[in-house]
């Protein structure tokens, strides 16, 4: 990984960096142009791969020196062995997945730890828009109801329940709004939810 020096990194990327160990082997699902992987490599000397479906993103990731695999996440991670990565990351893609349940299970199969981030649908600004009778449109949910790729939006409370139901251990959870940590009423006040997960060991 050579090119791309990142100066203006997304706040969630900066926080993800805190949850990845130095020299970890990382798999980034929906890696886009490889910005996160490049950042992790430069700051933590990580290795690993990105997965990206879109041609233009794939090519941009290649140009950033990322080892990128072109495939559709909806088909699962069958090309990856159990527990073959230290950390598997899915950043702000969960809500656009059709096979949401199975991709989380697949991530937990392939990675010893999993990082998932998603926009919190329970954020008060979203609730306000619903209250006033329209679907939420914001910086973190920039789509109209008719053209959104987001098919499985959820709230922090929903995802907490999901983890309990699926025997997933939440190692850490972080909720942020505008780059700031949210501690009070996270499901109401938090815009972006970040989870660090692993399987409950029996």
């Amino acid at each position: 990984m050579i090119n791309a020096k990142i100066t203006n990194i997304r706040p969630d990327f900066a926080l993800i960096t805190n949850w990845v160990n130095a020299k970890a082997k990382v798999l980034d699902l929906g890696c886009g142009d490889g910005t996160l992987l490049t950042h992790l490599h430069e700051t933590l000397a990580t290795t690993g791969y990105g997965i990206e479906k879109d041609d233009a993103n794939w090519l941009a990731a290649l140009k950033n020196g990322v080892d990128v695999i072109q495939m559709n996440l909806e088909e699962g991670l069958s090309g990856f062995e159990d527990q073959s990565f230290d950390t598997v990351i899915l950043s702000q893609t969960l809500q656009a997945m059709h096979n949401t349940e199975s991709i989380v299970q697949e991530m937990l199969r392939v990675g010893r730890e999993v990082i998932v981030t998603f926009p919190n649908f329970g954020y008060w600004r979203n609730r306000m828009q619903i209250t006033f009778g329209t679907m939420p449109v914001s910086k973190s949910l920039p789509y109209q109801w008719y053209d959104t790729p987001n098919v499985h939006l959820c709230t922090i409370n929903d995802f907490d329940d999901f983890c309990v139901q699926h025997q997933i251990q939440v190692i850490e959870r972080k909720v942020i709004t505008g780059g700031q940590d949210v501690h009070l009423l996270p499901n109401l006040m938090g815009n972006l939810a970040m989870y660090r997960l692993r399987k409950y060991s029996a």
Binding site: D55, W58, I69, F80, E81
Partner: protein
């Protein structure tokens, strides 16, 4: 593609080898020669060499033309040249005709120096392993220790892959394009039908047709027609020909009625006029036999354990003869060995033939990656 970024007029060269080559079958070639072409300049440190491995019907004439009025350029001319994705201003590109071929290297139709007659059917069956060995000797002959890259599509991709199993230290980057770790039964079945068409042609004479003054043209023609069907996708055939009639309406005959038939016959005739049947038999057998995992408990990951190159694996969505799923098997084996790999699945209508076409995304990938290679 304009001719301004062509490698221009090229000339084939021949390298003679007198050190015997023991083939995988156990047969020995006491001496042999390889016909090859090169484009660009080998740098002083000899770090910019790229080897192109050809597929079933390919040869050493990869780019450029033999004369100004040469009708067709080399078979991968759209990729190779000054300013093209594989830039000959940067790289020294080598194309060769594999052993057993019919375009200048030792093969069934070439003259056996021991008998002064064509080898004919006595030319041994050659394998991907034998080709890689002979290619390594060609590199020795050219004074090249390590390749900047080995590039191959289809059967050529198998050679590119195998390089990393037997000479991992001699490859820095490997491109395995529209290929597979072995052939499926269905895929081998197509090869068998093609061979049967040739072998049962009354003009084949057990492969000794050179001495009978015949050519098993019908067999070769049918073999090629069958091949062509499998290299195209249903969609592209539909788009190109559909049910279009040759003469406006049906004649209730077995002559050419549909455009598709005309195309297949044309391709078959063209091929039968320029390719050698004995070579065709051997090339398809090399495809059938290739199965590097076999020596490693059927585990391709184990077979690639010594590999150290960086890999680019590319497949094409409508390629059903060398499907994306087969390329993903290669990718998995590389991932299992934590090797650097970039895998692209190129959306194309052109079936297996897509790897020879200048699809923009495909060529952008080739260009972007090759630009990153330091020489």
């Amino acid at each position: 593609m304009s001719e301004s970024n062509s490698v221009g007029i090229v000339k084939a060269q021949v390298a003679h080898f007198t050190q015997p080559l023991t083939l995988k079958s156990g047969a020995v070639l006491p001496q042999y020669h390889l016909t090859y072409e090169t484009y660009g300049e080998l740098n002083a440190a000899k770090t910019n060499a790229v080897l192109i491995c050809h597929a079933l019907s390919g040869n050493h004439h990869v780019a450029g033309r033999y004369s100004a009025d040469d009708k067709y350029p080399g078979w991968w001319d759209n990729l190779i040249g000054p300013g093209k994705p594989l830039d000959t201003n940067k790289f020294f590109v080598i194309g060769l005709n594999n052993l057993g071929g019919c375009h200048g290297s030792s093969g069934p139709s070439s003259v056996d120096p021991l008998t002064d007659k064509p080898y004919s059917a006595t030319f041994p069956v050659v394998t991907v392993e034998d080709w890689v060995e002979s290619q390594a000797r060609l590199l020795d002959y050219l004074g090249i220790d390590q390749l900047a890259a080995v590039i191959g599509g289809s059967l050529g991709g198998m050679q590119a892959l195998h390089w990393n199993i037997v000479y991992p230290e001699r490859v820095r980057h490997a491109f395995v394009i529209a290929s597979a770790p072995n052939l499926t039964a269905q895929n081998m079945a197509f090869n068998e039908v093609a061979r049967q068409a040739i072998i049962t042609d009354p003009e084949f004479f057990d492969g000794d047709y050179y001495n009978h003054g015949t050519v098993p043209r019908r067999g070769l023609r049918i073999a090629r027609m069958l091949g062509h069907i499998t290299y195209l996708s249903d969609d592209v055939m539909g788009e190109k020909f559909g049910r279009k009639l040759r003469h406006g309406d049906v004649k209730y005959s077995f002559d050419v009625e549909f455009e598709m038939e005309s195309y297949l016959r044309y391709q078959g005739d063209k091929f039968a006029g320029e390719f050698d049947a004995n070579t065709y038999l051997r090339m398809t057998r090399a495809l059938d036999y290739f199965d590097p995992a076999l020596d490693y408990d059927g585990d391709l990951s184990k077979a690639l354990r010594r590999a150290q190159a960086k890999f680019v694996v590319i497949s094409f969505t409508t390629d059903w003869r060398f499907s994306p799923a087969r390329s993903r098997e290669i990718v998995k084996a590389l991932l299992d060995n934590a090797l650097p790999v970039k895998y692209a699945e190129v959306t194309s209508d052109h079936g297996h033939d897509a790897f020879l076409m200048p699809d923009p995304y495909y060529h952008d990938i080739m260009r972007a990656y090759l630009e990153q290679i330091k020489v």
